[in-house]
Amino acid sequence: MCLKNIQFGLNALICKELTANNILMAAREPSICVLGAGVIGLSSAVRIQDKFPRCDVTLLADRFSPDTTSDGSGGFWLPHLVGGTNQDSISKWSASTLDYMISLTKSPLANQIGVHLVSGYSFFSEPQCPEWRKLVLGYREVTDKELKLLLPKAKFGVFYTTVMINVKAYLPWLISRFKQKNGKVIQSRVDKIEDLLQKYDIVVNCTGIGANKLANDSDVIPIRGQVTRVKAPWIKHFMTYEGSDEHCEKYILPGTDTVVLGGTGQRGDWNTQIDDRDQQMIWDGCLEMIPSLKHAEMIRHWAGLRPHRSSGVRIETEKFSGGKMVVHNYGHGGAGVTLHWGCAGQVVEEIRAAIKSTVSRL
């Protein structure tokens, strides 16, 4: 009986210590570190700051704009290559992102922020009924006349309006917002996320393709994408073609200063060097859609790794001892830009719920 009492007492002591830590954490604001400075990391950092203004938020990454995966992307809002993410989440996060982007296009600072409305055509070799049709603006099927005039080889087409982000302007804008609210930025490489938990209470893991190693998640596999950027300011519409006969969708996206021509989608390919055959295929495919691209001035080529996760986007809190936690926010595949704001909002909810449950256990 005495032993039992000692055991009980010991347990009580351990519990007290844990509880004490929790009380301490609840008494002061948790310190938060966002790991990764692509569009996912920066939007998470900014939304966390907005929601938890008294928290110390640090942004830590080894790469920043213009060297992130996000920077190389087309910046085009459209949910695609999102693995097994459930449709309700895709709709919720992408709609929230699109609404936010559209509101930014109405700002006098739209150009500095790097967002603009863009309209255009998506053509297919067979009829489609995408979920996102309810989310974009003015979605409609093209008329027979448009099909005949614009891409006779296609069997079906849709016209709609969406948003394009100039990521190289948007990320710096997010960072400056972050710094204005006293966010700290550290350039550093991290080999183990858990190491950060010694210094921070909450780590938000926005490492994209890096999560394959850092979160030990073998489900994160690259889908390689190559693009060419050209100067073609007479092109005001986007145009995409996805044919069953095609290796991969071809697209022409008019950005602020350059037009993005793409693309490829090579699963499991980690190569970030430019492939000449891909380049030729992209060029031929795009020229077929818009012949005047022949006169476009070549600016640069780029290849990047979409951080695809077959089971879908992972937004999940992983709890550690001492009330610490890692909130994962990765695996957005080809839809990082499309989902970022909504996912950052989800991360904020995760943190809020986790902090609340920590406090309520006291």
Binding site: E146, L149, N166
Partner: protein, 338 residues
Amino acid sequence: MARICVLGAGVAGLSSAVNIQSILPEADITIIADQFNTESTSDGAAGNFGILLGRTNADICRLRCWTRDSFEWYHKICTSEDANIAGIHRTHGYQLWRTEQPPPFHGSFDYGYRILSKSELLKLPGNYKYGWELNTLMVECRRYLPWLMKRFKEKGGKVIRKQLKNIVEISGSYDVLVNCTGLGSRKLFDDKELVPIRGHTIRVKAPWIKTLFIADSDTYIYPGQDNVVLGGTRQRGEEKLDKDQRYYDDIMARCCSLVPSLKNAEVEKTWVGLRPWRPCVRLEVEMISVDGGRLPVVHNYGHGSDGVCISWGCGVDAANLVKQQLTETGSQRLVSKL
């Protein structure tokens, strides 16, 4: 060999000249003008393909032909390799109104229009009650005129820079005249029906603007290849070409209320010009008496706001009238020489 003279080197003159060359490859064609390229009224036009009935008047049948022929031509160019060199590109955007409107005239000829729903109108700027989504083109004369001129010269066309005070200066040298002098016809052909309608535009550097906007028909934002054209004004009977800053400030304010980010766009240049408006577009033959003979003049002027839009179709029509004249009078001249 027929000798043809086209008066005027704006979009009407060049379109006529190129069309005449195409159906009369043997003819000797000369363009005489005192204003070329950036000096012309056409150069200032935004070049949006769109027509409002009531603004441009002509026989509805003919207007349909001109619009249809023009669009087919521009579409062919804009889907070709030459699109950017010729200065023609596709555009998309919104035309907003305070009250319900009949369908746009050009809607049956271009890529199509769609009536906006109430929920869409709520999302768009301003409190407009009615509107269209437009899919059309823009023909920018800054590039289009030199492109037409190059084609004209490559096929042997001649060009003389000269300011004509009177038709008699040249009437003896040609078999047919094609009058594309716009407002110049007030003096040259004593046309009292022509009325200048002054317009102002601002061209700004705003490459993030890909969408066109037209509000109340007089406020517009057209995304061009090199800059965005903001407008405008419609001042009937005004002729002074001084650049009154008040008008530009007003244009900028109206456009910024549609697209606020224009506030930060760098102004490249301002422009003021005179639309050559006429109660009816004049596209017809007039026989004038010169040196005891009769000289056919094919008139092609008075296009008002829509000169660029219908220029190709009018050029086709004018060229056909020229050919007709030569066929009719050619045989007469042969007879008279015997």
